[in-house]
């Protein structure tokens, strides 16, 4: 039991003001893209011509509605900013009631804007990007499905509702990664993503079950109100199980391997799902469950460790990849590691985790779309060794990408600076070791991003034959510009500490951490580290010609990084190979032992019958003999009974 003395700030209770006015339209935010998906997927070929417009319109309408709702929320008092809309009772079993409720509060409001906003831009971009794909309509259907599911995830007021969205985005991710499913690699990557996510779902399932067993309900309102009463063991258990779930969805160690493969999907998918929104769901889950995590030091420590490991792993992997999308994917892992780390810091870090999540959503989507634009011009080649000198050929892409680059590096005043610095600062305040990890990560980030920029835009032309790079059409560059603007200006959210104040009612108050050194010095240190990373990249990559084929004689570290730090190899050796062998053995066991027992009994009886059958020789006289013998026995038995 957590005593009140040891915990000055109890986590806030999730409020539930009933919806009224404009907020009663909350359900429409989800319904619009869901309807779009339904029309596109069920309507079939009939919707081919206008399907993409419908999908874009649905998401854009959702975005407009989100904006309206957001301003509605802004206009309210702090206490009334947590709005609950009851849609219907989902299911009931004994005392367990799960309602289909939507919770619109400061946290989900931000997510709504991110999802629908970035989502709309990516829809627009996809109109151009997927123009020549004969299954474009279906692509947009899936995208709408994803947006709807993601909105369910962030709006649900119950863990089961979160689970619904959680799996919904998993499904959409599966469908979109495997969108080009005629490619075996894409199909395999899609399956891998889903299965690994399912491993994480074990955590969510059991976590939800443990929440029910502990609190008798799974709604945020009830759990947050009662969380301070729960035992430490239960809280830690829930925390760790939810962390497992977050690891699956957010590609954190040890469930990180699917994200790199997920780059088989079309680039807008990578931007929307595997950079900006879905992969950050784990962070959302932890922050949303602050009323659990704030009360359990042990689980938070685990979160921090996972975050640190992943942020370094992702960064290292990003350094060695020649595939532009995989390099960005490694970066995504790393950045989510930052967010998870921040979330693990407790009330001090929740707001910064979300803040970084938002800025990362802007600049990483920007860069992924930029990469998509590059690929568009390079005949879908993803190998950076075949790029070079694209700065001139694609000026808009370069410019927008450059802003994203500066943002991720954390160069002031771009968005990343504000969010990342805060995380590193808070980490140092919490624990120097954690802070150092975060700091090193920033340096490595600077290295691989600079490497990526240099290989892509600078240097000499290393283009393949027949490739004529060109700038992408307007429909693609306009979203790029919009995202670049957001990447540049995202930091404004923290003006006057707005985002912390905004989120505090949700995530809880915290005391200001006091660093040993002034914040400005800290920022300078970080900038120096970043600059060092850039310099190293310049010396290692920028100054030398880049071979068109990746050199094979490289250090073990590079080899390890290229092999994703042996994540797949580990899974293969520890899970898949024994699994396949085990299933083979089990199949043999089933046919020989289990079924063998049944069939064996049958065989024994059949053999016995084959022998007994011979008694039935067809000779009437034999039968008569048997009859007589039987009669004798009967007579003897009668005699025995009567005279015995």
């Amino acid at each position: 039991m957590v005593t009140l003395e040891s915990l000055p700030h109890l986590p806030p209770v999730v409020g539930s003001v009933p919806t009224d006015g404009v907020f009663s339209l909350l359900w429409l935010v989800i319904a619009l893209p869901a309807l779009g998906a339904a029309i596109l997927l069920i309507g079939g070929k009939r919707t081919d011509k206008w399907g993409h417009y419908l999908a874009t319109a649905a998401v854009s309408a959702s975005f407009v509605l989100s904006l309206v709702l957001f301003f509605g929320l802004l206009g309210r008092d702090g206490e009334e900013r947590q709005v609950t809309q009851h849609l219907w009772d989902w299911f009931t079993a004994g005392s367990y009631q799960v309602k289909f409720d939507l919770l619109y509060d400061q946290l989900s409001a931000l997510f709504l804007l991110l999802i629908t906003g970035v989502g709309s831009l990516i829809h627009v971009y996809s109109i151009g990007y997927m123009e020549h794909d004969e299954r474009r309509r279906r692509f947009f259907g899936y995208l709408n499905l994803f947006v709807a599911s993601m909105l369910v995830l962030v709006l649900a007021a119950d863990y089961v509702g979160v689970f619904l969205g959680w799996e919904g985005v998993g499904l959409a991710s599966y469908l979109l990664i495997g969108f080009w499913q005629h490619k075996p690699t894409a199909a395999a990557a899609a399956k891998k993503a889903f299965v690994v996510n399912r491993v994480g779902d074990i955590g969510l399932s059991l976590g939800t079950a443990l929440i029910f067993v502990t609190f008798g309900s799974t709604s945020f309102a009830v759990v947050s109100a009662a969380s301070s009463q729960a035992s430490d063991g239960a809280l830690t258990g829930i925390g760790l199980l939810l962390l497992l779930a977050a690891c699956g969805k957010s590609a954190q160690f040890p469930l990180q391997t699917w994200l790199l493969d997920a780059m088989e999907g079309p680039t807008p998918v990578s931007a929307l799902i595997h950079a900006a929104t879905m992969v950050t769901a784990g962070v959302y889950l932890i922050v949303r469950s602050n009323f659990i995590f704030s009360l359990t030091e042990d689980a938070r420590t685990a979160v921090i460790i996972i975050g640190c490991i992943t942020l370094l792993m992702g960064a290292v992997i990003g350094c060695a990849k020649d595939d532009i999308k995989k390099a960005l994917a490694g970066s995504t892992m790393s950045q989510i590691g930052y967010m998870v780390l921040a979330a693990g810091l407790g009330p001090a870090g929740y707001a910064f985790a979300i803040f970084h999540l938002l800025t990362h959503g802007f600049f990483k989507a920007n860069m992924f779309l930029g990469a998509g634009s590059v690929m568009h011009g390079m005949n879908d080649d993803v190998n950076m060794r075949h790029y070079g000198a694209l700065q001139k050929a694609m000026p808009v892409t370069f410019a927008t990408f450059g802003i994203g680059y500066l943002a991720i590096l954390g160069v002031p005043p771009f968005a990343g600076f504000w969010s990342k610095d805060k995380i590193i600062e808070t980490a140092f305040a919490d624990n120097v070791l954690v802070g150092l990890c975060a700091l090193v990560g920033a340096g490595v980030t600077a290295f691989y991003m600079t490497r990526l920029m240099l290989m892509t835009y600078a240097g000499t032309k290393r283009w393949e034959k027949g490739v004529h790079p060109h700038e992408s059409p307007k429909v693609m560059t306009v979203p790029l510009i919009a995202l670049a603007v957001l990447s540049a200006l995202g930091g404004l959210l923290t003006l006057n500490g707005w985002i912390s104040d905004w989120l505090n009612p949700v995530v809880g108050e915290h005391e200001e951490h006091h660093l040993a050194i002034p914040a400005i010095v800290m920022s300078l240190i970080i900038l120096v580290v970043v600059a060092a990373g850039v310099a190293v990249a310049w010396f290692l990559v920028g100054k030398k010609p880049i071979p068109k084929v990746a050199p094979t004689e490289v250090s073990v570290f590079t080899k390890a990084a290229r092999a994703d730090l042996y994540g797949d190899a580990f899974n293969d050796a520890v899970v898949i190979k024994p699994g396949v062998a085990g299933i083979g053995a089990l199949t043999t066991f089933d046919t020989t032992v289990v079924d063998g027992a049944a069939e064996g009994t049958a065989t024994v009886f059949a053999a016995m019958s084959a022998q007994f059958r011979l008694l039935q020789n067809g000779f009437v006289r034999s039968y008569a003999l048997a009859l007589l013998a039987g009669a004798t026995v009967v007579v003897l038995a009668l005699l025995a009974v009567n005279f015995g």
Binding site: F619, A629, V635, L638, F643
Partner: protein, 250 residues
């Protein structure tokens, strides 16, 4: 009781004989012996009506029917003594004896007491007494037996009736068939030769002799050939020889 002690051994002997005789006719005759003896025993047991019925129905009708069928089927009516089912005869005797001994021993355990006798029941004569019961209490069963008998008769007729599957060949058909056989297989066209005729006995069982002195197989009935009662040619020739020699001597 005298009749019993005389007849019982005879009956058992005759019954045992049925087990061993090879020809069905002999078995039938032995059965007749058993049945006649039984009839006499019935008389001794105060059942004169059944005595008569036993003689008339069983011995008279049923056994005659048997003999009739034996005559029809009689071509290979004799049994082989070799047992074809392995171990059957041994087990039959063991089980049969066991059964018989069990029965006899079992009966030996029971005391039947003194017989009441039928003097009272047969007071107004056996036949009227039976008739009274038969036509009162058992009249329904009796009527049912009539149905049974009719059904049996019909059944026998149906079973014994030979279904003609092809139309009966006419004279012309037969002639044509014979010509065809001659053309295709060289079958003898004319009538079959008559059997050899000898003054000494009815000689349908003796084949006629062909000009070269061999027997004409076609001249005797196939049934006789199957029964093996045909006089063989050597036999005949020997007889003829004997006759000739005897003639010469005399």
């Amino acid at each position: 009781m005298v009749a019993f002690w005389i007849l019982a051994p005879i009956m058992v002997a005759a019954a045992l004989g049925m087990l061993v005789v090879r020809k069905a006719v002999h078995a039938a005759l032995l059965l007749a012996v058993v049945m006649m003896s039984l009839a006499v025993l019935y008389l001794a047991l105060d059942a004169p009506f059944l005595f008569a019925v036993q003689i008339i129905v069983y011995t008279g009708a049923i056994l005659m029917l048997f003999l009739f069928v034996v005559m029809l089927v009689g071509v290979d009516a004799s049994d082989s003594v070799v047992e074809t089912i392995r171990g059957h005869r041994f087990f039959t005797i063991v089980v049969g004896l066991a059964f018989g001994i069990t029965l006899v021993l079992g009966i030996g355990q029971v005391s039947f007491g003194t017989a009441i006798g039928l003097d009272e029941a047969n007071g107004e004569g056996n036949i009227p007494a039976i008739a009274k019961i038969l036509f009162t209490r058992y009249v329904f069963a009796f009527e049912v037996t009539s149905a049974l008998l009719i059904t049996a008769a019909l059944g026998a007729m149906v079973l014994a009736h030979r279904e003609r599957l092809t139309p009966k060949p006419t004279q012309a058909d037969l002639a044509a068939q014979r010509m065809r056989d001659y053309a295709e297989k060289g079958t003898h066209l004319g009538p079959l030769p008559p059997p050899g005729v000898f003054a000494r006995h009815n000689s349908v069982d003796t084949p006629a002799l062909l000009p070269d002195g061999t027997a004409a197989e076609a001249s005797i009935s196939r049934v006789l050939a199957a029964r093996g009662t045909v006089k063989s040619v050597p036999e005949i020739s020997e007889e003829i020889h004997e006759l000739n020699e005897g003639g010469e001597e005399s």
